[in-house]
């Protein structure tokens, strides 16, 4: 199987986001970066599928030059090739991102003369959260795509794949013909950590760089704001086990015991 995984470079911080002075973006000077948890699971699933059925995993990103770091991370986890579509430091809107990804995938498929069996995305990026890039790419390429997926069952010989996802009331399973696309969620698997050998391989791997002209889409970010939140005064009920009666008083007051 040939699998393509699309990832995005995003800040890894668990702290409150600090905005730049003009409020137009996030001050990233002191942040480290990662790919989102959904995408980590996409990489893991792709690597497992190739371990099982043979083939190769390509990771693709649209972003700043530094996004090379996320491609090398994916390679350290077992991906084979990395493609960086360099789009400069500013955030790219979802239509433009999809356009750039689609072009890169078309190039890759034209070069090998065959489609990627599966194109994988995270369900939404953790920062912008537009919930649409994967769908746009799949539609442009004429592939079926299911989102929110937490289980993948591929039958390469039958040319068929099943996707499972949670719904508000339970779960549903979809079937699609290969080649297909999928947008996955965390919980699909437990991603591995990079191995020492993987890290060495990632350091040496060659990254393909593309710089296409990408037309802007219709959605334009103006500024970011931190929503107002009330900060209650924290009532400290006590220290250690001796706080138990005060805790149970609270539970009784809230009528939950």
């Amino acid at each position: 199987m040939r699998i393509m995984v699309c990832v995005k470079r995003v800040p890894a911080s668990g702290g409150a986001p600090q905005l730049t002075e003009d409020g137009r973006g996030i001050d990233t000077r002191h942040l480290s970066f990662t790919v989102g948890p959904h995408e980590e699971c996409a990489i893991e699933e792709a690597v497992q599928l190739v371990e099982r059925f043979g083939g190769s995993v390509t990771v693709l990103t649209v972003g700043p030059a530094e996004a090379e770091e996320q491609l090398r991370f994916a390679i350290s986890l077992g991906a084979d090739h990395g493609i960086l579509v360099e789009a400069g430091p500013d955030e790219v809107d979802p239509q433009a991102t999809a356009f750039a990804l689609t072009e890169a995938i078309r190039d890759g498929e034209a070069a090998s003369g065959a489609p990627f069996d599966l194109i994988m995305f995270g369900n939404e990026s953790p920062d912008a959260g537009h919930y649409q890039v994967g769908v746009r790419v799949a539609c442009a390429l004429g592939r079926p795509i299911v989102g929110g997926v937490k289980g993948i069952d591929v039958d390469p010989d039958a040319g068929r794949v099943r996707f499972r996802r949670d719904t508000p009331g339970g779960a549903e399973v979809f079937e699609a013909a290969l080649p297909a696309a999928v947008a996955v969620r965390e919980g699909l698997n437990l991603p591995r950590y990079p191995s020492m050998r993987g890290r060495l391989r990632a350091r040496k791997a060659e990254i393909t760089e593309l710089r296409p002209h990408v037309p802007a889409g219709g959605l334009r970010r103006i500024r970011l704001r931190v929503p107002e939140q009330q900060r209650p005064e924290t009532v400290v009920l006590g220290h250690g086990a001796s706080a138990a009666p005060a805790v149970v008083d609270l539970l009784e007051e809230l009528e939950v015991v």
Binding site: P227, V235, L237, A243, A244
Partner: protein
């Protein structure tokens, strides 16, 4: 043709559909346009009146019922293509849907097929002759983005929890309380590429994390899978559900369906008990909807402690068993 079109989900999404309709009504009123609704696929048996009542009750004059054999069960591609065809057919000024998983998926499919931009998870919207101004949720709720949308047809989804703007008194709304149903049948090629549902299952019973009144949640400070036993006990005694942080999931201590946060579930209980959880923003956005938060943490400066309504400073492994014991003690006394 014009008008404002709201995609509704008569089964399962009535409340969020109502909010989207309320947004649509104000937008339509401001533009002096008619409000219409659209529903795709069959409505549940015996619910034939629900659709015009839902739409009309919120001021829609008509509701397009989109039917085709390929739409009899849900398929993201078929439903999205059907909506794209309806948009091409009716040429509305704007298309709005609730930001449910399905609403978002269908809107993304339709936007992709119609080559239109899409703004998801919007909180506020104001039409403008040049570019529409809107605000939308980012980073699971930690940030708000102000943005401009320029498009022939404006497509957006309304975030869960968004508050509809005050009704400015729209010009042309249904006053009868019921909307006229108009059937629409899209066309599909025999070779139309799509996925289809082959199996469906209902949730196992038990208290569900997203509807529980109490959530007892554990993080790194719980120390391991066995460390969750007292938390489970406390959840049972309070009729609650057990939740966890991503550290607990990544270590394999809990299944991912228990995870609270940006990439897990958002919970809105009366009481959220956070045991050994630091309160990273990605966790906070999942529990900030709780009415009361009790943080149990050895670190009095942990972000979750400073944001909680109540706190106990101490070791989870001591505090929670003591709380369980105290509940039993009081039960014996009465």
């Amino acid at each position: 043709m014009g008008g404002v079109l709201v995609l509704v989900e008569p089964d399962g999404g009535v409340e969020s559909s109502a909010v989207a309709l309320a947004f649509g009504r104000v937008i339509a009123g401001g533009l002096g346009e008619l409000l219409g609704a659209a529903a795709i696929g069959p409505v549940a048996d015996g619910a034939d009146d629900a659709l015009p009542a839902l739409a009309g009750g919120h001021g829609a004059t008509h509701v397009h019922h989109v039917r085709h054999p390929l739409l009899d069960d849900y398929s993201p591609e078929c439903w999205g293509e059907a909506l794209a065809q309806l948009v091409a057919h009716t040429e509305p000024r704007a298309v709005i849907s609730p930001a449910t998983a399905r609403g978002t998926e269908v809107m993304a499919q339709a936007a992709a097929r119609a080559d239109l931009p899409l703004a998801t998870n919007c909180l506020t919207v104001s039409p403008d002759s040049r570019a529409w101004q809107l605000s939308r949720i980012r980073q699971g709720g930690m940030l708000i983005e102000d943005a401009e949308l320029t498009a022939g047809v404006v497509m957006m989804t309304i975030a869960a929890g968004a508050v509809p703007p005050d009704d400015a008194g729209p010009t042309a709304v249904s006053t009868s309380g019921t909307a006229q149903v108009v059937s629409y049948t899209p066309e599909f090629d025999t070779s139309f590429v799509h996925s289809r549902v082959v199996d469906r299952s209902a949730q196992e019973s038990g208290v569900s994390l997203t509807t529980a009144r109490v959530v007892v949640s554990g993080g790194r400070g719980v120390g391991g899978a066995e460390g969750f036993l007292p938390l489970e006990e406390l959840a049972k005694l309070t009729g609650g559900a057990v939740g966890c942080s991503r550290v607990a999931t990544n270590n394999g201590w809990r299944p991912h369906r228990d995870q609270v946060g940006q990439t897990g579930s958002k919970v809105n209980p009366d009481l959220y008990i956070a045991c050994g959880i630091s309160g990273a923003t990605q966790h906070w956005v999942g529990c900030m909807g709780a009415k009361h938060i009790l943080a149990v943490n050895t670190d009095p400066d942990a972000p979750l402690v400073t944001r909680a309504t109540h706190a106990v400073i101490g070791d989870v492994a001591e505090v929670i068993p003591a709380v369980v014991e105290e509940i039993h003690r009081r039960a014996r006394r009465t």
